[in-house]
Subunit: 528 residues, 2 copies
Amino acid sequence: MSDVAPILVAGQWRESKSGDTFRAENPVTQEPLPGAYPVSSWEDCDAALTAAAEAADQLLDVSPKRLQKFLLRLADLMEENRAAIGQLAHQESGLPEKRLAGREMERTTDQIRQAADAAADRSWKQISIETKRDLRSLFAAIGPVAIFSPNNFPLSWNTISGSDFASAVAAGNPVIAIANSAAPGTTKVLAELARQAAQEADLPAGTVQLLYRLNHADGERLVADARIGATAFTGSTAAGLALKGAADAAGKPIYVALSSVNPIVFLPNAIREQGEELINRYGNVCLKGTGQFCTQPGLAIVIDGEESRGMIAAIKAKFDESTPGTLGSKKTLDNLVAKLETLKQAGAKVISDESKPKGEGYSHPNTLLQVSGADFLQSAAALQTEAFGNAALFVVCQDVAEAKAVIDALHGQLAGCIYSSTDGADAEAYAVLAPRLRRKVGRFMDDKMPNGMPVSIGMGHGGPFPASGHPGFTSVGIPNAMRRFAVLQSYDQARHDHLPEELRNKNPSGQLWRNIDGEWTTGDIAEG
Amino acid sequence: MSDVAPILVAGQWRESKSGDTFRAENPVTQEPLPGAYPVSSWEDCDAALTAAAEAADQLLDVSPKRLQKFLLRLADLMEENRAAIGQLAHQESGLPEKRLAGREMERTTDQIRQAADAAADRSWKQISIETKRDLRSLFAAIGPVAIFSPNNFPLSWNTISGSDFASAVAAGNPVIAIANSAAPGTTKVLAELARQAAQEADLPAGTVQLLYRLNHADGERLVADARIGATAFTGSTAAGLALKGAADAAGKPIYVALSSVNPIVFLPNAIREQGEELINRYGNVCLKGTGQFCTQPGLAIVIDGEESRGMIAAIKAKFDESTPGTLGSKKTLDNLVAKLETLKQAGAKVISDESKPKGEGYSHPNTLLQVSGADFLQSAAALQTEAFGNAALFVVCQDVAEAKAVIDALHGQLAGCIYSSTDGADAEAYAVLAPRLRRKVGRFMDDKMPNGMPVSIGMGHGGPFPASGHPGFTSVGIPNAMRRFAVLQSYDQARHDHLPEELRNKNPSGQLWRNIDGEWTTGDIAEG
């Protein structure tokens, strides 16, 4: 038997039909990690699709309680294996093992448990009933969901344990997970736990399936396949656009998260008021985890003046003093170098010390850039390129009007923030800028860094393109993230005993919120 | 001054910058109608986009009450001009004037009034608040909406007065309406009324704009423009796919409704039980309005036997006896001829009498086709071609298993229906077929023809591709249809006085339903 890892298809670990393989690498030591993983051929994809389609049918008869049981058990199993998972994820990502086994694990299992409860309470179905003409609608499972994930949060965004996975399964869909190529080992361990949990909950065999990597053509074929319900993709713009093009052409929903620089505005009186604390917080959030998170506020907008000059100088010092962290892979490093080059070519100047030694493994000097508002407006598209990693760009504007123009020139972004003083001295500038920034972002913050991202009913992790592919959805937050993997199904004068339980006159749990004739209630419908 | 109609841009009727024009035609007399209309150039589009973007900004400060006032006034004005509108729409569509000025008008104004009330009550915003971590989200206006509409329902789907228009405006968006080329006169009159209503409600000048026709390249450029929020398109597959491709590539939401044959299953005992009544109802629904509605049940699935043979013979007689109606345009007729040819080439046999005289104007003999289940399965894609107009295809299956296979071979459809007997004799077949049909359609019916389509919170007019471009939305039904023209906006620890009114602790109307910590309530949030 070779050392090539098996794929998980139709509930069984089996050999890939493909002979092609890849290996992961430790980004700190730059050494290959043990074990080879298959690059699947279409034959593997086809087998997974067939099993997923069968599972989708079978899941129609699986109770919400069993989905809940599966997800709760998965969360428990992950925590039981916390140390081993943390260690493996650390080896594959270079991120601190303690954080992975600790906060990252807890965020992930909390997310899974929230999804478990949402599966059981069924509020995501958003039931709408008009009694007079007997029209009743609900959201229902969309069918097999393909998930492509990043590795900057090796657990909470993992293709097996992350938000896409939890919300797709909680909405009653089977998942075809495609591992991040940097994290095949972590993903395999999570899939083993998911398989065990699925067996204990007696879920259909094809509910959770795992492939490690696809070539581009097979990826595009997969997301456009008739058996697919929807796709979720978080990752590079080029790969995401290719998959989006294929899925769009086939009329298959695809939710992509491509890039975001998460603009953050520091108004002068906020800088004066919050001083060093603000500088520390911004410096930390830019460099934490080597800056590798999708809400890193990499584009800072300030008004030229004593306050902003002082802030930029202090941030530069912080960038120069801090030891650069390790990036998740060679690809991440290469991408950062290329994107910084794009920014420089477009007129941004590096103001941090480029001669500082790098950190361990795949690492790059902390890089702070600066550009004037006027120059930004000359090359706005290039200057909002996301340099994913430990880098940030200050845009120094002449005045509030120029800052407004800079914001108006932004593409869609995941998050945006304005720091303004509490004494009202920034109120006028805030009133000009906030409505402009609001429409560019999915999540808007006052006086807060965007890195914390609670899993909450009020969370919005999306925004206009290219932050996401459709600004009406969120990829984080239960139950709203589940709506991505749902279809709207209406029943027009169906016989009462033909209706799904949730739409019948009697409230199935006595606790399910339903909109009946425009009023939300947990009550029954009076029999006519 | 020429006889070329002016376009409505930025609140003014002005001459088009283009020299190119077209004329509409009366489909009954096949004579050109008075007046020429411009085929707009990009210059017109650009002016409309600029005005729409400005209006979108201004609409942020317009109260829901003013949007309500606008829509209510438009509905009143339409009814005041009922006779003139009915006459004009009749001339341009060939549909009965009485129906247009009567039921069609009432359906349209009811839809507009429902949208008006939804604008005011704001329930479409689907407010979600988590108090503990202070995360609050709502749906908000998406920005300028481009609307391309069909002319089979000249008022209720009109680009100015239809569901897309009413739901886009009610959600606070300006509209760039592109008239159906067969109905420029009706659309112009409706735009005059909308302009008057908008002025009376003091809406921004660019809230309602009208162009009559675009060339393909400009249409594709329009839907992909940075100033556009979203697009709604109902019409031909070729035009819709071209626009969808352009919008998708730019990351702009587009909602298309392309084609649907609306499968209807007649189980043997239902035919036996309902006999002549069922035959009359199905015959009528196929030929009413010359079969020109998007939910026409043009694909009938039956099990071979005495009952189905009797039914097909009776429907054939009905098709042969009934005088064919007029189709909406030469284009509609040409399309019907071409699509019938596709069906015939794929193996469907015409069983109605093709030698019968045609009706007035653009008309085609009522055409009933038949194919076996086995033959259908050989060419399933071609045999579910929508032959829009007075035509229908019976698929005669050997048994329930073959009928199941036929349903499984269908693409996504708007509506689907099963007639089963009330005595339980069809229950077994129903149990096999219903779950299969359910997942293919947006709206599912028992024992009901799909032509009536109430505007209701429980309505679903969508479904998997190509019935619609995204199965999570509906294009009919207030308030749910409004969600297409909305973005999800989250506020993460925003200062309380920076929040929109709907998200503040105090319920703004005392009647707005909000989901607070998982419970729906019209109450306030207790001050921490």
